[in-house]
Structures are given as C-alpha cells and as structure tokens.
Amino acid sequence: MRALIVDDSRAMRLVIRRILGELGVPAEEAADGAQALDLLGGGVTPDVALVDWNMPGMTGVELVQAVRADPRFAGLRIMMVTSETGADRIQEALACGADEYLMKPFTPDVLREKLNLLTNSEV
C-alpha cells in the first residue's frame, strides 16, 4: 500500500508519515490541493489519500470532488483527516466522494484501524 498525505501543516504531515512508516506504508506529501493534483497527474499512484479539510486555496473537500471527477483516479480511496467534527461536515465529505473520515486528534492505533476499514486490509 502507498499513501498520499495532503495537509498544509508540516508538523501534521510528519506525524502521519511517521505512523504510516511504522505500519510499513510509504507516503508522498502535498501541502495543498493543487500540489496533490499535480502529484496524482504526474504519475504518483497512491492507494489511499489522507486529506485535511482546511487548507489554503482549495479545501480538502474540493480536492476530493476534483479527484472524483477524474476517471484516472477511480481506484483511489480517500479519507478525510481533519479537526472538523460535525455530523453535517462528515455527511458533506461522504457525499462529495470521501470514503472514510477520521477526526483529529487521533492515536496511531486509530489511524491504523481506519486505514484497515478504508482498504479492507490489515496493516
């Protein structure tokens, strides 16, 4: 499994990358939606994308919509990883094409469990 981390916080990307590293999941990083689309369009092919909501430029949900509109990325599983925690927010993200939703803050175990739910596998 390979992952793409999309978060404008460098510290957050580092935290997530470390946890993924311990699970044996290599990860690419993007600091915003535009960079994420560049990476995806440029041939980086992750199985999962972990996407923050509030980022400069494009929001995470707008990124999800853009990805879902492009048939090249049809196999990508997307999980929002965000401090937005309202039921309406979760509903909105799912309706826009996110597959899972993880509320910050979380523990490494929780991220692992959610990844397993997301990919129907066991890391």
């Binding site: 039921a87 979760i90 993200a93 996110a98 939703y101 979380f106 469990e113 739910l117």
Partner: protein, 272 residues
C-alpha cells in the same frame, strides 16, 4: 510507593472471590494504576489506606468499587470485524428462518462494557435486515460494572471512541453529535436492555437466546469458572444457538458439548 505484598494478595483474593478474575503475580502495576485513582477519589492518601479501611469494614460497598476498578473495560465498535460479518452472512439468516413463526430474536451481549458491541450488533441488523421491521429484537446487555452499564444505557461516546472501528457512514447514520459527544439513535437504544449481572455468580432467569456474544471476558477467569459459565450458557440458549467468543477464547477442553463451527477464517460455536 510500591504495593505491599500482602496488599496485592488481598486484592488478588478479593477479585477472585467476587468476580472470578485471576490476577497473576506480576500484575502489581495494574493494581497500582487502577486503584490509586479510586483511593484518591474515596479520600485516602494511598492504596494501602484504602485497603486498610476495606479490611476493617468489609461490608461498606467499597469492595464492589475496588472489584469494578480492577476490571478491564477495553472495547470498540465492530471489534475484530469478522464476528459481525459472520452475524450478517450466516447467523442472522439462520435465526430468521428458525424464528419465522414467532418473529422474535433474543441476543445477549454478556460483559458488554460501555455497549459498543451491542450497538454494533444493532447497526448490523438495521443496515442489512430491513425485513426485521415488525419483529421483536432484544439485545440484553449485562456487565459487572455499574459505571459501564450507565455508559451503555446512555449510549454516549467520545470522539476517540467513535473514531475506532466505526465506519463514518454508519456514524452519521446512527448517531447524532451533541457537542463533542456522539449519542446512539433511540432506535438502537430501544433494542438494548442494560442490566447488572456477574457471570461468576448465579444468573437470574434469562430468555432462550438465539445469539450470545461473550467476548473478551472469559480470558480473565480461572478454568473452573470458564467451565461453569460454558455449561450454564448451554441451558439459556436454544438448540443450535450461536455463541461468539473472543479471539483468545475457546470451548475446547472446557466444555466439549459445544459444536465448533468454522466460518471463513473465524470460528463460531453452536449450542447442542
């Protein structure tokens, strides 16, 4: 301050006698980490002070709180995944066929902790068996711990708890958020009845269960208690009823009347 040897022995004997829980030597740290907060909240400076008081006044209800504080309440929604898959693919279809005339299903979440197991059973039924509308489905939730039962009854979960094991789509469908907490729907809570029950003592009159989840609790008990529980369990289940145990639990060499039934890469037990 380290736990005195006779204080550990005292707690060991107490939880064994009251809840059949075996505390092996080496678990001193567990006694310290679980009882220090209790000691403080009861107004004692140390665990030794709490236990001294308990020795002098063995009947003031404190021993119950000590036993409850020593229980491990770890649980999660859809814990281990596969039991709930088997429930959906194999168990409920059989039960519905078997109960089609009475249209009543009795399920027991024995040692339910804060209720995530029962709520997961309820969600599985609601999601995959719309035909059950008009049926009576009861999920009896029992535990030794009054604190856990209160939580189970309230059906209120923290963000951290709903992050664990629960698909986001089910979270928004079956829970509503109140501030930072999430409350299970009244539909789900209506199916659940929460009652105190010590598995190691005599059981009250119970329904004839079609399905029993008794997961991750027998691991704490001694062999005699496991045997006695498995034997009594047969008498409160209908023939062919389904028993789910935890991943580290089995009926093998304890009560071989149970029929071990592999489903996929997992195992479920059927009552004779």
């Amino acid at each position: 301050m380290a736990l005195a040897v006779d204080d550990f022995a005292f707690v060991q004997a107490l939880v064994r006698r009251k809840a059949a829980i075996v505390l092996d030597p080496g678990k001193e740290y567990l006694v310290e980490s679980r009882l220090l907060p209790l000691a403080r909240s009861e107004g004692f400076a140390s665990i030794a002070g709490l236990l001294d008081d308990l020795r002098k006044n063995p009947h003031n209800g404190l021993n119950r709180r000590v036993v409850q504080a020593m229980t491990t309440n770890e649980t999660a929604f859809f814990r281990d995944g596969h039991p709930f898959e088997i429930l959906r693919t194999t168990v409920i279809p059989e039960v519905m066929e078997h109960k089609r005339s009475t249209r009543r299903i009795d399920i027991w979440s024995a040692a339910c902790s804060s209720g995530q197991e029962a709520v997961s059973i309820g969600m599985t039924l609601k999601e995959h068996f719309p035909q059950l509308v008009g049926w009576t489905v009861r999920i009896l939730c029992t535990d030794l711990s009054t604190d856990m039962l209160a939580r189970c009854r309230a059906g209120r979960y923290s963000q951290l708890e709903v992050n664990r094991g629960l698909p986001a789509s089910l979270l928004v469908k079956h829970f509503r958020n109140e501030g930072i907490e999430w409350v299970a729907s009244s539909d789900l809570r209506r199916m659940m009845e929460c009652k105190e029950l010590n598995l190691a003592e005599a059981w009250p009159v119970l329904p004839r269960f079609d399905v029993v989840f008794m997961r991750n609790v027998m691991i704490y008990f001694d062999v005699e208690t496991k045997r006695s529980i498995l034997r009594r369990l047969r008498s409160v289940m209908r023939p062919g009823g389904w028993l789910f145990l935890g991943g580290a639990e089995t009926t093998l060499n304890l009560d071989d009347a149970w029929q071990r039934t592999p489903v996929g890469r997992s195992v479920v037990y059927r009552s004779p």
